[in-house]
């Protein structure tokens, strides 16, 4: 494999980073909203959030992207590839993060919410200052785990025409016919992208652990 092929993989990497960034940002915002709805205590909203989670956790991301990009186009709604992946990743990531965070919010002892309520803290402050900081600690390993899967899941964006890292690897592999070598390098590049996230996760974990033994 020559330098040219390697540089080609790096341009794919660039797209992967951009797609991951979209997934992270949109997914986290959406996920937080879903988690809060799911734990709101309002029956209707909780049902709605649970339905959303069941629907978008249960369908493959690839299918979501396909439906948003090609399916909607079929009925005349032509979304650009960027909009399509943004929608697809948001639906997917917010469902998963929403459920992960919902679980950790539920795992914070009830006495904590009670104490906050008794101090007359409003919902926002109760969540932001009391519950979420403790929930984050429980959900951190799972969250990091999902985010690295999301990075790798961006490879599915090739279905709407992005030549991201995995697709670039495919192209190179079909040119030089050394799939083990090419996918080995692609694997390493993914590793280099995901690993810092893992490291950051453990760093954060240690910091939170110091605060509340």
């Amino acid at each position: 494999m020559g330098l040219g092929e390697f540089l080609f993989l790096l341009t794919g990497l660039k797209w992967t980073v951009a797609l991951s960034a979209i997934g992270f940002v949109c997914g986290s915002v959406g996920g937080l909203a879903i988690a809060l709805l799911r734990t709101s205590g309002v029956r209707g909203l909780e049902r709605l959030a649970a339905g959303y989670i069941a629907l978008f956790q249960g369908t493959p991301l690839l299918m979501q992207l396909f439906v948003v990009y090609y399916g909607l186009a079929l009925i005349g709604l032509h979304l650009s590839a960027w909009v399509a992946v943004s929608i697809g990743f948001t639906l997917h990531a917010s469902a998963y993060l929403g459920e992960i965070w919902r679980g950790s919010i539920d795992a914070v002892p009830r006495g904590q919410t009670e104490a906050a309520s008794a101090l007359n803290l409003k919902y926002t402050s109760r969540m932001k200052d009391v519950v979420l900081p403790q929930a984050i600690r429980i959900s951190l390993p799972a969250t990091i785990g999902f985010l690295v899967q999301l990075i790798k899941g961006t490879s599915l964006a090739s279905i709407v025409g992005f030549t991201e890292l995995a697709r670039a690897g495919n192209i190179v592999s079909n040119q030089i016919f050394e799939p083990l070598l090419v996918f080995g390098i692609v694997g390493i590049l993914y590793f280099l992208m995901c690993w810092p996230l893992s490291l950051y996760g453990s760093h954060l974990e240690n910091r939170l652990a110091v605060a509340s033994r």
Binding site: G4, E5, Y70, A73, I75, I159, T163, N170, N174, Q175
Partner: protein, 252 residues
């Protein structure tokens, strides 16, 4: 279902650009080079056609599985995407006249005797999922033959090389790749079918189809197609049939 974005040659000319669906990872038909340029026989065909219309080309690299959806949903105007002309496909898209021929073959070790379709039952066979060789091997192999379907050409060749299968179905370019990995061990055993590739448009879009057919007739006549054959296929230009069972070349 409402009409997808139908388009005419006039509209393409007015836009100054034709959007072509093409394969990105299937040399020498259609592939992206390591400096990111679209290349291959299909790419050159598309460029010639664009020149004919006097417009520029925008390539949309596609995978095997989203070629037809990209066309039917209006994401591209036309496919030059190694689309083998098959009757079932012709129900979903409108083929033009054929512009290149391909053959589907079975590759196996020299030591294994495979002379007839029935002999295929002796081995496990790998194919690229959804490609023409998949269809052909599935159709011709005796019932009960182990057929393993992989994601694309490279993995199916890798499966042969690493011994996960004993034979693979492939096209005329496969053997040369297998030779690179394991020289002297394999040979072409059976040839199933001559396949023709055509350009595709949406069903019912008469104008673009007609213009494509005229274009193909023209390059066959003026020697442009021969140049492409010399560049990519390295064989003489094939004889193309005037009709294929169940595959109309012109839109009705």
């Amino acid at each position: 279902t409402r009409p997808a974005s139908a388009i005419t040659t006039e509209e393409i000319k007015a836009r100054g650009k034709i959007i072509v669906g093409i394969q990105g990872d299937n040399p020498p038909w259609g592939f992206v080079t390591s400096d990111g340029k679209q290349d291959g026989l299909d790419a050159d065909m598309a460029r010639l056609y664009a020149k004919e219309l006097g417009v520029t080309v925008e390539f949309v690299p596609l995978e095997v599985s989203n070629r037809i959806p990209a066309l039917t949903s209006g994401r591209v105007d036309v496919l030059f995407a190694t689309m083998a002309m098959l009757p079932e496909r012709a129900k979903a898209v409108q083929f033009s006249k054929p512009y290149v021929a391909n053959a589907i073959v079975l590759i196996a070790p020299k030591s294994v005797e495979i002379k007839t379709n029935a002999d295929m039952a002796k081995v496990s066979i790998g194919v690229a999922k959804g490609a023409a060789q998949d269809t052909q091997v599935t159709k011709n192999a005796p019932a009960g033959t182990t057929i393993r379907r992989y994601d694309g050409d490279a993995p199916s060749i890798q499966a042969l090389v690493s011994g996960q299968v004993q034979a693979i179905g492939g096209n005329i370019f496969y053997l040369q790749r297998v030779e690179q990995a394991r020289p002297g061990e394999f040979e072409n055993k059976l040839e199933f079918q001559k396949l023709y590739n055509g350009a595709c448009t949406r069903l019912g879009e008469k104008e673009v189809n007609a213009s494509l057919n005229a274009f193909i007739d023209k390059i066959r006549a003026n020697g442009e197609l021969k140049k492409l054959y010399d560049k990519w296929m390295k064989v003489p230009v094939h004889q193309f049939p005037d009709s294929l069972e169940g595959i109309p070349f012109s839109a009705s």
